[in-house]
Assembly symmetry: D2
Homo-oligomer: 351 residues x 4
Amino acid sequence: MFFGSDNTSGVPAPILEALARANEGFAPGYGADAIMERLRTRIRDLFEAPEAAVYLVATGTAANALAIATHCPPWGAVYCHREAHIEEDECGAPEFYTGGSKLVSLPGEHGKIDPQALDITLQNAARVGVHNVQKGMLSLTNLTECGTRYSPAEIRRLSAIARDHGLPVHLDGARFTNALVAEGCTPAEMTWRAGVDVLSFGGTKNGLLGVEAVVMFDPAKAWEFELRRKRGGHLFSKHRFLSAQMEAWLQDDLWLSLARQANAMGERLETGLRALPGTAFVHPRGANMLFAAFPRAAHRRAREHGAAYYFWPNDHSLEGDDTEPLSARLVASWSTTEDHVDRFLEVIAPR
Amino acid sequence: MFFGSDNTSGVPAPILEALARANEGFAPGYGADAIMERLRTRIRDLFEAPEAAVYLVATGTAANALAIATHCPPWGAVYCHREAHIEEDECGAPEFYTGGSKLVSLPGEHGKIDPQALDITLQNAARVGVHNVQKGMLSLTNLTECGTRYSPAEIRRLSAIARDHGLPVHLDGARFTNALVAEGCTPAEMTWRAGVDVLSFGGTKNGLLGVEAVVMFDPAKAWEFELRRKRGGHLFSKHRFLSAQMEAWLQDDLWLSLARQANAMGERLETGLRALPGTAFVHPRGANMLFAAFPRAAHRRAREHGAAYYFWPNDHSLEGDDTEPLSARLVASWSTTEDHVDRFLEVIAPR
Amino acid sequence: MFFGSDNTSGVPAPILEALARANEGFAPGYGADAIMERLRTRIRDLFEAPEAAVYLVATGTAANALAIATHCPPWGAVYCHREAHIEEDECGAPEFYTGGSKLVSLPGEHGKIDPQALDITLQNAARVGVHNVQKGMLSLTNLTECGTRYSPAEIRRLSAIARDHGLPVHLDGARFTNALVAEGCTPAEMTWRAGVDVLSFGGTKNGLLGVEAVVMFDPAKAWEFELRRKRGGHLFSKHRFLSAQMEAWLQDDLWLSLARQANAMGERLETGLRALPGTAFVHPRGANMLFAAFPRAAHRRAREHGAAYYFWPNDHSLEGDDTEPLSARLVASWSTTEDHVDRFLEVIAPR
Amino acid sequence: MFFGSDNTSGVPAPILEALARANEGFAPGYGADAIMERLRTRIRDLFEAPEAAVYLVATGTAANALAIATHCPPWGAVYCHREAHIEEDECGAPEFYTGGSKLVSLPGEHGKIDPQALDITLQNAARVGVHNVQKGMLSLTNLTECGTRYSPAEIRRLSAIARDHGLPVHLDGARFTNALVAEGCTPAEMTWRAGVDVLSFGGTKNGLLGVEAVVMFDPAKAWEFELRRKRGGHLFSKHRFLSAQMEAWLQDDLWLSLARQANAMGERLETGLRALPGTAFVHPRGANMLFAAFPRAAHRRAREHGAAYYFWPNDHSLEGDDTEPLSARLVASWSTTEDHVDRFLEVIAPR
């Protein structure tokens, strides 16, 4: 009953098997391994982007910060949602990697940037002069931090506004696959066809030990990215162990299956909670994350039985009125089973 | 016959087995895993440093840059050897992480800083004012980039000079274990007892997929380090997979055995090369790395048979006078076998 | 009729005379001039702060950015008002000088931080962990960007909240003297007695060519400040020409007289505008700056007669409904005369 | 008898008069003043560079650091002489402004970069990969820090090497005019015709209170420079007071006359010292700076009579053998008179 985050899960067997296979013999380091060569082609094919530059790093924060720094100058504003991971949860990594750019946070319901707010902000920014931070780039997140989902059309709409102001677009896809399978579209439709220039393509939350790809659909800044990656300490000497993970993950649609399982368990949780008296959902569910408020008594029972998850956005006391609804975040992962969910629903149910 | 670098090798079986064990079930992320708890204690015990702050990152560059940035202000000079990895091979990572400090490179034979040069440099630096970069910290490397070794006494001598000027001391230990077993001393003797404040304790080159510990013997700056690590994108969500590797590596003296094997193969290479007519050693061998010049004809034979290693410090052409000695770097790793070495010696031998 | 900014004015005669006096002969550079020695004492006396560290730079942005960088780490949040100069008008200078800190903007009416908002923000920030930007410092502005004024009591209240969370307090005093004479308190009451740790003490907007003092009431970080100033390129070789300006300015209460004149002209403008039909004031006037909305026809007449000032916060077209009130910012300076004001009022009056 | 530096002198009367004239009335700030408009044209004419971007800042360190940061990425190496001001005397300002680039210092006699050393260094740098700092830019200084002078031909030779490797060239011209009049060439010949891309055109050491122009012969990066200047806190609100100084300085060849006077006094010093028994010159004199070793007794007499200058490169004790030659730096400025020089020569002469 671990619903704290999808990164509290481990990895499926094929990933460890791939590590074992990759472990054979000697291999050139720093991205020159043969597996990376194949993986690059695989990802280009998947995204229908034969020119794309593809690089691996080990954390989502590294992927985001490097992607942003490569596309936004130190004096540029990075427009993102108020609750974006880059704004809230990376301890200033984008500011560090860009050399001091400013994150400008935008409003919007359920973690999705309001297009009108973006438009007005950029129109205002278009009038500024040398005294002001300049327009830099747009950063979206899909799944959002609220567990909701942008459709390709919604991404396209925001990207178009950014593009009208000459801004490149980043997509933080820490849970990209969850969004993708929920949406039922192709990787290209979710990214470059919708106006995305650079993608943080997350593997860690969906079954890898720690691998994220950065995909730049326009490879013009590939070499700059490589230098920034090295300089940031994110170039792995035994790089084959990153490549191998992601190659196995993309094989036989494993990545899609894992995300589908996570999403299905999210849905099962939602269905179950809907039946719990006094429950309200804070955000519509986009894939594998739920934000729901339900009675304190249910939380108390959950904790007594060892269920792990976060109250959200703030902590709450378990002491107090039994019926008061307390909001929480529940995340299902690829390794969440029906049994996990059902047991959780059972223990929180009123007796 | 892969002698290019110890990072072209893979990892021994117990490391992959540890990953498989660590993969069971759910675990808290970001360093709060139970394995890290045990590992911290293990490392403190090993170093006889019960107060030490211990953190994991995945690359040597990250370990070095974060360790240095935590101990040296942006306006501080980092004193290091001319051929130090931080000076030559990290694409400016220390400059990036410190916010623009200056690496001041020092001379010294065979990759070891000349104590007198350090002393004079620091005496001169003591007289500077606001116009000048200030004294920051001393960074040593053991094994050095020339494959030579500092004894604890030599480290102590350099540290004492630094300390006289109020400087903290960093030890880049990408090949720490190789130096340690060659020297036959304890981890404490090689580090804090010799005046080292912060150690990059390398695992990757000695049998891990990608794990380096940063050990700060004085934990005063532990929290600052944690923030810098996060901000640098080097805090792993599925941290247990880092902890597990290093725990297994430190178990049953595996780390020591691996380094001993590498060093023994280095010695075997040296012995063999000594017998090759026209061979000269560029630096004395400290452990598992050799710098030797031997005839072009031998290099040609080596390459024809698929041997991989670097000419060093510069590239050479295989075309030309057969007898001209060309200098190369040969690195043995934990996975180098007697057979690898003997085959190499056989193919380069004149026929 | 120049009401664009107090920095479109020149300097009073005693300042140029002081430059001429300072020009005699040779003088040591970089702050070692005899005038600086006297000036330091003068400022310490003025502020009743015998230990204060006092430094000069030439721009307000430099004063603010250096003061903030000296007191806030790269991972620290700088809490400031939404419309603060450091947030809106310095092109990211604080982010640049701190190495990537995050400005967290706070709401509050009329440019003054709402204490409750500060309190809640800091209480939330107190609960964060390694994933989040940490509490860094509080930065206030007096006069605010809205031309309003904090009383010492109001500053004390905000400082006390910051202090409860262990934060240092910066005061951006680009128009410090205007606020001071309007408030009728002492420099100490407006600063350290109210909890301010470091002050940007502005001279440029109040009659100097370009001099701002940074006053650190606790001199513990004086040397760090000096290094940051040099490294930022803000240490003047012919420093006597900065010192001389500020010394003359502080002599015989010139600085106070200049600010009083500016404030009086602000008041005169306000009184005049109040009589103009259709005028509303956007913010209460704190000293020499007015934010008022008045009919388009009056703006049109003003512009026809060469009056210079900014529409605020946005530009407006002079074409359109005559009676529509358009908001503008009007700033009086030390060199604004009764005649300037009266002429302006005359030309905008309906005929 | 002040020979400490040319920045211990004041400014000639026309400069103060220009300030007084510029002080009339109100003027737009931040470089939009009418004087700057004229000055830009004047400088473009002077340099025969009608497209050049021209900006003013107040210190040489600001000019250099901003010029370099605009032309060199964070991972770029800045090649400069071992004794260059940017390497030795700016407390890491270039590293700060570039975001952590590395200064690579080159040898060369008398402060002038050895072309062969530059060539070899760049050839080596051309072979590096992602692990290494990349080739960034070349920075020359004329007058050099050793008081010697590059001819246009010598600059052209070094620039050509840089250009062959795709590097832009910066010229630190803190004493540009002294070099120019000594060389007897045109500003264009000394700069863009010799391959210089960006010039720090120093006014402060040659008679201004604190003004340096940055001249970019290719204006492609003009806007980036403006943003960096603002962000660095180097954009002056009362900008007219910078423009006015430099305009007056360039009028009626004042700048040339001032430099000629300084150079003539340098020559007079040299001639006088040549006659002093036991004197040797450390570097050939290029203009207004002398590096000479002469007997301790002469130094003692100089100091007794209040002469001010620096021992160079190290401090010496006045106690000791009378005849031991001690090396010193003597700098003449525009305000040094024949009387100053003659008196100095008189007091140091043996009695």
